[in-house]
């Protein structure tokens, strides 16, 4: 009897915390779909605000997608070899280098962005292009790719597999592309999903680096929160959620996939 009561109390507390997490999201989604939020739901549901957001801000959405894909390409090209390099380095060196690569995540994005601006802001053309933002995103997401790939490499018995391939006469290139890469595919997948999700949602670095011509989705969000009516901000948030929630589900799924391999 007593344990029953305890369970009920604990469950109610958990439900209250759940409400705290979900109620503002639900309110925001609803506000983005109601005709007039001041009047309330009786003013009717509409997609008008979503359309308006699309007209005003669709370029920010495309830029964010472009950035995320470019960021994914670069972090894969430099991150997978880097993870392999860490695997093959001596422990002490590997730890030190990993610690270094983590710095852009450990230090707030605002500081990273400020450093970039003060160092390279004077190159006008570079500063005005989307590549400037891309650099910030690559710095911030690279450790997540490296970590995801490295952790799979460490459990995949790569050294043994590689040695087997080498003893059969495989060159380094053959080993890398037909043994190393296929064996850490699940890590690359998990890292890729993480990189895309983080890049699409990145604000702290991007806000400092953006120009009026290079606005990303979160920058547009901040802009609409500050200067547009509540319905538009909400509809915009709704679009963001629709983009990010599937990615989150995919991350969970990929995480379960790598866990099963073990």
């Amino acid at each position: 009897m007593k344990s029953r009561l305890r369970f009920t109390l604990q469950l109610s507390f958990t439900l209250i915390v759940c409400l705290f997490m979900i109620v503002p999201v639900a309110m925001s989604v609803l506000a983005g779909l109601t005709e007039n939020y001041f009047v309330g739901l009786q003013s009717g549901l509409t997609l008008r605000w979503v359309n308006e957001v699309w007209e005003l801000y669709s370029d920010t959405i495309w830029l964010s997608i472009k950035l995320a894909l470019a960021c994914l390409l670069i972090t894969t090209l430099i991150g997978v070899p880097a993870a392999y390099g860490l695997l093959r380095s001596r422990r002490r060196w590997a730890n030190a280098i990993e610690e270094l690569l983590l710095l852009p995540v450990a230090v707030p994005g605002l500081a990273t962005a400020l450093a970039l601006l003060l160092a390279y802001g004077s190159y006008r053309e570079f500063r005005g292009s989307w590549l400037f933002i891309l650099i910030g995103h690559v710095l911030f997401t690279l450790p997540f790719m490296v970590r995801a790939v490295l952790s799979v490499m460490q459990t995949a018995k790569l050294p043994q597999l590689e040695e087997a391939a080498a003893s059969l006469g495989a060159s380094f290139r053959q080993r890398f592309f037909s043994v190393v890469i296929p064996n850490c595919m699940s890590g690359i997948l998990a890292g890729a999903l993480m990189v895309i999700t983080l890049s699409i949602g990145e604000f702290n670095i991007t806000w400092m680096l953006h120009t009026p011509l290079t606005k990303t989705l979160p920058v547009g969000l901040a802009d609409s929160y500050a200067s547009m009516r509540l319905e538009i901000g909400s509809a915009y948030t709704l679009i963001f959620l629709v983009m990010v929630v599937p990615l989150l589900v995919a991350i969970q799924w990929a995480g379960r996939l790598t866990e099963q391999r073990r």
């Binding site: 507390f13 958990t14 439900l15 915390v17 705290f20 109620v23 503002p24 309110m27 925001s28 939020y37 001041f38 430099i78 070899p81 880097a82 390099g85 093959r88 380095s89 001596r90 280098i97 270094l100 690569l101 983590l102 710095l103 450990a106 230090v107 707030p108 994005g109 605002l110 500081a111 990273t112 400020l114 450093a115 970039l116 003060l118 690559v138 710095l139 997540f144 970590r147 995801a148 952790s151 460490q154 459990t155 380094f172 999700t197 983080l198 949602g201 990145e202 604000f203 702290n204 806000w207 901040a222 929160y225 901000g233 948030t237 990010v244 929630v245 990615l247 989150l248 995480g255 790598t258």
Partner: protein, 298 residues
């Protein structure tokens, strides 16, 4: 990713060391260096070099006082108050989040009931919300047309608001901290040896004693490390603070203000370095304790 970092590294490092003996050492390290090169070049050119300049720039003369900006921070109350406020609110948020979410995470890890998966999903999916969105959600709760304002208007005929103050900041930071703590605590509880609890129970310990003497010490490293991550994230949470109002006297907003409003680059640089140092130390402690899990992303 979290599950991966839980894995002990011992086995892998053992076999790596064994490889060192069989493959010619020089060739092996050359491959490692070459593979690491592109990432290191990008890191040095676009982070290490700029950030080193930022550190030096902080030593230059501050615009208003004419003394080195680092010294100005130490001697001016305004900056000290801002640092203390930011550290203080981040500490309180981390402690609150660890207390609330530690409890909920433990409950969810140990109990099985219908609909649990839904609750876990609700509690963890806000992990990927950027700070700006969290700020907006706080406005939905405590802003001019927020839930609180509407219900208080209906009940008492006045609008109650908290969004545009330190209280709003607190709620926002709590919002993005809770999912982090819950995921970590649930993972830690799964790893906890259940037989210890059973042994304590069979020796006559009541629930409170089991919690105090077995469970909390068992997951203490996870609690401390996730708390440190929440602290670091809150310290640098520019997006949330920016959405809630630029007049609050906290570090990220001060840095932004010094840079854009006053073009006081030396002071902006010095404050950034101080902020970066604080979060880096906090996250290093977190990594020492938990051995994994990357840090601040809100």
């Amino acid at each position: 990713m979290k599950a991966a970092s839980k894995q002990p590294l011992g086995a892998a490092s053992f076999s790596t060391r064994w490889m060192v003996l069989t493959v010619p050492v020089r060739h092996k390290s050359l491959v490692a260096v070459l593979a690491l090169m592109p990432a290191l070049i990008v890191f040095c050119a676009f982070w290490l070099l700029p950030f080193s300049r930022l550190i030096l720039m902080g030593a230059e003369a501050d615009r208003s006082s004419g003394v080195s900006a680092y010294l100005t921070i130490l001697t001016h109350r305004q900056y000290l108050i801002s640092i203390v406020t930011t550290v203080g609110i981040s500490l309180v948020v981390s402690l609150t989040a660890v207390a609330i979410a530690g409890f909920v995470g433990f409950f969810l890890a140990r109990q099985h009931f219908w609909g649990k998966a839904v609750l876990v999903a609700i509690l963890t999916f806000p992990l990927a919300f950027p700070g700006v969105v969290v700020g907006f959600l706080v406005i939905m709760l405590g802003g001019r047309q927020g839930a609180l304002a509407q219900s208080s208007l209906w009940l008492f005929g006045e609008r109650w608001m908290f969004a545009y103050s330190l209280a709003g900041l607190f709620i926002g930071y709590l919002y993005f901290s809770i999912p982090r703590v819950i995921t970590t605590v649930m993972a830690a509880c799964d790893n906890l040896d259940k037989s210890l609890e059973e042994a304590a129970r069979s020796l006559g310990a009541n629930t409170w004693q089991v919690t105090k003497d077995v469970i909390v010490p068992g997951i203490a490293p996870a609690l401390l490390s996730t708390g440190a991550i929440c602290f670091a994230t809150s310290m640098g949470a520019f997006g949330t603070a920016f959405t809630l109002g630029t007049r609050l006297n906290i570090l990220p907003l001060n840095i932004y203000g010094e840079f854009t409003n006053y073009a006081n680059f030396a002071m902006a640089a010095a404050l950034s370095v101080v902020l970066g140092a604080i979060t880096w130390i906090a996250l290093s402690i977190a990594r020492r304790l938990a051995g994994g899990n990357l840090g601040a992303s809100a």
